[in-house]
Symmetry: C2
Subunit: 447 residues, 2 copies
């Protein structure tokens, strides 16, 4: 019963991790207060454009975009513009035959519970160039410059295409052979330990999820025990039969990208129709998507101990779901190539269903499946937080739904059935999987 | 002596192909005349910006760009803006155990010799949506819609990053099982026959070279006969030892991309400093790079039989070279990750040396090697034409230089040694190899 013992050990370790996190939360106490824009030191609305910008011209700005297609104007919205490429880096080391990863307990002002699991390093370029004049980023030397470790993963990946304009970060997993000094806010964990914690609501932050998703996995976390988990296990096998060849998948993706005729243009925030800038929020008239608000943060143990910043505040909890079924005994997930105005190349591969709306979209026949409450079909179902450094209480319900082997294989042209191994082969390269699909891939490894 | 017989057959077939091309040139006679901008029907300088645009708002426009980096303004230049994704498609079929490709004899107004080898289909979106109101594109049905063949290659690739703003095309190789009617401007050729013709000056056009480069090859064209060609043959073998692992190559590329802090902004053509718009050219004061001129074209057998258009006219012949050497008996080529302002993501992998200048750059220690006249070192050396639909007499000297096994392996951080197989693995995905490196990869298959 090695499997059962391992599970007990994982559970014990999980409890310890949760205690450690609670302890770090007490030690790293911070306060986050909503303030009017006028009180946000170093931030102001730029004359002319009305864009909300930082005095340094760095970090990020709240601006507008307009989307046109071949038929004319299509949409406008405010968006966060952060053109710099940051680093999301996870340090790893093998000791006594066991590989572990250095996980951080990190406070972000927008987190619902303040403290979440983060990768070893999570730094914008402005951060690590120390534009803010604060302390240097701990462990950064393993990811940059001559002391850099051996890269296992190093790839640019996009972030939320409906909230960020062409934002991407460098997702890195780096192995070091040298001594790594301890730090009370950091903890070495095995991959299985981290994956076990992915099923705890609002615990593993977006940044550790995306980095983990880029790291190939040999198998899901638990041993197979039924038809679905047998098929899942085989879905990691490169030799298992797949519905599409790699050439067919790349062609399907290229076709979807070529079909999109959107053109995205930056416009002044003040020119975004039906959005108004008030004293303490940028909000859409009758809108149900998001608003922009200001916060003051006091956090004694951060690089900078006190600051103010705008945050994007979604008005509901999002939903991102993979529908999955065995095909010839191999689990395939249904993905959808969808355009999002803020993505660097507009089209990436996303979940089967991805929405910020409270209600299923009647135009999407798969939306109701994604919301099923049939417990036999729901294989993963956890509410997880999006980046708390830019978003306020942004949460998404991530679900993996077993639709069974009678589910129709014929799907609309922007959809495709992929094995887990095929997803892993794509995520090694930039800009194939969007951030929601990457989180779902990491969640799949947790099963 | 099957090899020698095959070579003789290839040479005979080459002679036939050249005759066929000459014949097609006679049948498709066309005239290209330089005209002042004022005589270019349907083209005009837009009030306000001074951009040179087509009345339909489609095809392409001559505009300006400004490049800034963290230290401020860096450069400005005119550039061709063609945001649409076109199709470069090569049709293939296996008959009697032999695979052949349907190659086109195509006239382009900017070609030095008018008629060159092109893929089966070469069409901008405006072309195949018939914005010009002309004839439909022959064989297009194999690449679009329900009658599409089986895709062997289907990938977005960028084009000249110093002349085009974010231009890319869909590079496709599609297999059809059905009947393909003959057409006098098209000819079925084996891959070896096409590769043999790559060493003829200005014969195989840019579009067929880029499509061919995306199609994996099992081996170079000729059998090994010396240390270099032995090492070349092994460089196609997936199992051969390589200097870098795939993870290291991706990390090197991501690092190079992250290092580039350029920001590219569109500006009005009239705001590009030191460039002036005259009656018949847009030219740089004392410039040695390129100018924009107008041409009238009369070509009875094209989709449209007569039109006028601007063309970008380089003022010298470019140079693009791979330096190559065996490492542990496996040929490696030295590539360089270089930013170019017009590339969709700024940085792609290019040749060791790539320049439009007449003289070697004294700051580049490899530039002199790339110009060697030692015949024992020069393995490939052909002047080939760039896209004649947009550029006038644009030619690049493509060279593969054998630098020998004593050449230093330590190279600057933006350089990397890759095997031919590793280049082929990268070119399956969008935006890794720039168009010059892709031509050199196709040339390598021709050796």
């Amino acid at each position: 019963m090695a499997g059962a013992n391992a599970a007990v050990t994982d559970a014990t370790r999980s409890a310890e991790t949760l205690e450690w996190l609670a302890d770090r939360a007490r030690a790293n106490r911070c306060s986050v207060t909503r303030i009017p824009f006028a009180e946000m030191d170093a931030w102001s609305f730029q004359p002319g454009t009305g864009n909300l910008v930082h005095d340094s011209g760095r970090f990020f700005a709240v601006e507008g975009i307009r989307v046109d297609d071949d038929n004319g104007p299509r949409a406008t919205q405010p968006i966060l513009n952060q053109p710099e490429i940051g680093i999301l880096g996870l340090l790893t080391q093998k000791a006594g035959g066991v590989r572990r990863y250095l996980v951080q307990a990190k406070m972000e002002p927008g987190n619902v519970n303040t403290m979440q699991l983060a990768p070893t390093v999570q730094a914008t370029r402005s951060n690590y160039m120390r534009v803010h004049g604060g302390r240097s980023t701990v462990y950064l030397e393993h990811f940059r410059g001559s002391g850099r470790g051996r890269p296992l993963v190093d790839v640019l990946q996009s972030e939320q295409g409906s909230w960020f304009l062409r934002k991407r970060n460098r997702n890195m997993v780096v192995e070091t052979a040298g001594d790594v000094p301890d730090h009370e806010d950091f903890r070495w964990m095995t991959r299985d330990e981290i994956h076990e914690l992915l099923s705890v609501d609002n615990l593993a932050g977006m940044d550790i999820r995306t980095v983990l998703s880029c790291l190939p996995a040999e198998r899901p976390r638990t041993a197979p025990y039924d038809e679905f988990t047998e098929a899942l296990r085989r879905s990691y096998d490169r030799a298992a039969p797949a519905r599409c060849t790699p050439a067919e998948i790349l062609s399907w993706f290229t076709e979807a990208r070529s079909r999109c005729d959107w053109r995205v243009t930056s416009i002044p925030l003040r020119d975004v129709p039906s959005w108004t800038v008030g004293a303490d929020e940028v909000a859409e008239e009758g809108g149900r998507r998001f608003r922009i608000t200001g916060r003051r943060v006091v956090a004694e143990r951060r690089e900078v101990t006190s600051w103010a910043q705008p945050l994007l505040e979604p008005l509901s909890i999002g939903l991102a779901a993979f529908l999955a079924r065995p095909i010839d005994g191999v689990l395939h997930v249904l993905v959808r190539a969808r355009p999002q105005a803020g993505l660097p190349d507009l089209v990436e591969i996303g979940p089967t269903v991805q929405t910020q709306a409270d209600e299923p979209d009647p135009a999407d026949p798969l939306a109701a499946e994604a919301r099923t409450e049939n417990p036999g079909r729901v294989r993963f179902d956890t509410v997880l937080s999006e980046e708390g450094g830019r978003f306020f209480h942004a949460r998404t319900r991530y679900r993996l739904i077993d639709v069974g082997r009678d589910f129709p294989l014929d799907v609309p042209p922007d959809h495709c059935w992929l094995t887990v191994r095929q997803l892993m082969d794509l995520v090694r390269h930039k800009h194939y999987l969007n951030v929601e699909a990457r989180t779902l891939l990491a969640c799949t490894h947790s099963l």
